[in-house]
Structure formats: structure tokens, C-alpha cells
């Protein structure tokens, strides 16, 4: 784990707010020269603090009107073959997030769909048919608030 100072954290906040900023703009935001900002960004990337950049698209404008969080509990016999389940679930293109968790569920998924009937199709044909699936619970997302960057 690398040690971060206040300037590193300011860089992460600036990039968290706008990931398209280049080294010069980041430098201006935090009071560094372009080469100094570039070196620090490089260091954060190499240490794995910055994992990469993602394109942010308007889901609704592209026809994906529904995001659903799905909790999956495996059937007792399904626990024998976690790998088969994991391989199959990560391969579903509509499933954006797969997390192995401890608690009332074994896995947590985030699924995008065009609408509720499209989600029903994905749920019935792709998720309920996965190897080892026991109980499934779906909660449709109504609103999403995200933090711009780490405050700590």
C-alpha cells in the first residue's frame, strides 16, 4: 500500500469528479506543474490506486431503462461448484457487477435491461438457469447517488 499525501488525495478527488482531465488540467486544479502532476498520476496508476478509466454513457438514452440489484443464494448442492456458477454469471453481458458476499446472499449482481420485461427474460433465461442457483431476490433501482471521490 502506498502512502498518500494531501496532494495525492486532491488529485484523486479532481479525477474522481472528471476522469477526462489531462495531467495539465489536474496540475492546475491542485497547484502542480504538468510534469509533477503527470508523475504523481503515473505513480497512483502503478500502485493500482487508479485502476483505469471508464466511459460514462447515459444508460436511458441508449435504451437501458432499468437497473436491478439481484441477490443470489446458492442451493446447498450448488456450493460444491462455485467456479461453474461464477464463470457462467460473469459471462452474461447484461450483468455488470458480480460480487461474492457474506450474509443472507452468496452473490450480489447488478443487471442492466431495456425494461422490466427484458429484465424478466434475463432473469428467467439466464440467471435462474445458472448452475447451483437457489433463491433469488430482485430490487429495481429508482435512484443512484454516487460519491465523486474518496474523502478520506
Amino acid at each position: 500500500m502506498i502512502d498518500l499525501d494531501d496532494i495525492d488525495r486532491a488529485i484523486l478527488r479532481a479525477l474522481g469528479a472528471d476522469g477526462s482531465l489531462n495531467a495539465k488540467q489536474v496540475g492546475e486544479a491542485v497547484g502542480l506543474s504538468q510534469p509533477a502532476a503527470w508523475r504523481r498520476i503515473r505513480r497512483l496508476e502503478e500502485a493500482g490506486v487508479i485502476r483505469g478509466r471508464r466511459l460514462v454513457l447515459d444508460r436511458a438514452k441508449l435504451g437501458f431503462g432499468v437497473t436491478v440489484f439481484v441477490g443470489v443464494r446458492l442451493a446447498v448442492r450448488g456450493r460444491l461448484d462455485l467456479e461453474a456458477f461464477e464463470r457462467a454469471v460473469t459471462a452474461i453481458p447484461e450483468v455488470q457487477v458480480v460480487q461474492h458476499v457474506l450474509g443472507v446472499f452468496d452473490y450480489r449482481l447488478r443487471v442492466v435491461a431495456r425494461d422490466l420485461s427484458d429484465f424478466e427474460r434475463i432473469l428467467r433465461r439466464r440467471i435462474m438457469t445458472l448452475p447451483g442457483v437457489g433463491a433469488v431476490e430482485s430490487n429495481v433501482m429508482l435512484s443512484d447517488e454516487k460519491d465523486a471521490g474518496p474523502r478520506a
Binding site: 472528471d18 477526462s20 485502476r51 471508464r54 431476490e137 429508482l142 447517488e145
Partner: protein
């Protein structure tokens, strides 16, 4: 907003796979000229289809090893339960994201902590102090097998 055609979707697929790619390379992979590609990307940015780029920050590398997803049912008998709960939750720096849901639970939140002792302290002193909670369930992250914003275009 102008409706999107197959070439637009091809451009978005390329950009989703590699957001750092130069416009000329996006065009080459999508099979169009750099100029045509730049015009289409400009148009999609103007129309708000492309909202921007986001940097993915690894909170574990920042020393936040514990991540807990809380699933919360609110006491809806209280008027303004949602608004008051959300306003209080938003003010907690340890709460990294909040979603309101339609289903068995009303709200879910991501909470980050340095370790289990730190999490326990946040949970006891801050989370349980939030107003109008009827029921609360916690899922603790063990590992993340897939995490993408990619849309199946």
C-alpha cells in the same frame, strides 16, 4: 437527440472497451475515417449520450479494506422518512453510494472502512443513528468477480 445508428453503436462499443483510445484509432476500429468518427463522438457528447469519463479508484489501495453493502427497510409510517433518512445518510463520509430501490428493501448503501473494528465503530455510532430504519441487513464483500459499466450495445 438524433437517433443512433449501427456505426454510432460500434463507436461506443470500441470506446467502452478502451476509453483511452485516440479518436483516430476508435475510427479505424469502427471502420470509418478519423474525421467522421470525431464528428459522431462530438454529436453524441452534445446529445448527452456520452457523459464523460470516470476514473476508477481502488479503495483497497487507499487502505479501505472492508466494504459492506447495507440493505435497509425504512419505517414508512413516518412522513418524510425517505427524505430525512437520505439527507442524514448523505452527510456521512463513510457512505460511498446510496441507491433507492423498488422491492423488498428501500435503500441500499455502500460503506467503506479500514478494518472490521473501524466498520463496527461506523455501524454503531453512525449507521444505527440514522433516522427511520425499520430493518437493516448487511452483506460483506469477499471478492469482486466482475465490475464494469459496459452496456451490451
Amino acid at each position: 437527440m438524433q437517433s443512433l445508428d449501427d456505426i454510432d453503436r460500434r463507436i461506443l462499443r470500441v470506446m467502452q472497451d478502451d476509453p483511452d483510445l485516440a479518436v483516430a484509432d476508435v475510427g479505424r476500429r469502427a471502420g470509418i475515417s478519423a474525421g467522421a468518427c470525431a464528428r459522431r463522438i462530438d454529436r453524441m457528447e452534445r446529445d448527452g449520450v456520452i457523459l464523460g469519463r470516470r476514473v476508477e479508484i481502488d479503495r483497497r489501495a487507499l487502505g479501505y479494506a472492508v466494504r459492506v453493502f447495507l440493505r435497509i427497510t425504512l419505517d414508512k409510517i413516518a412522513p418524510r422518512a425517505f427524505d430525512e433518512f437520505l439527507a442524514a445518510a448523505r452527510a456521512l463520509p463513510e457512505v460511498e453510494s446510496i441507491q433507492t430501490l423498488l422491492g423488498r428493501v428501500d435503500v441500499r448503501m455502500d460503506v467503506g472502512a479500514r478494518d472490521l473494528a473501524h466498520y463496527q465503530e461506523i455501524y454503531r455510532t453512525k449507521i444505527l443513528a440514522l433516522p427511520h430504519i425499520a430493518e437493516i441487513e448487511a452483506l460483506m464483500l469477499v471478492s469482486e468477480l466482475k465490475s464494469t459499466d459496459r452496456l451490451p450495445l
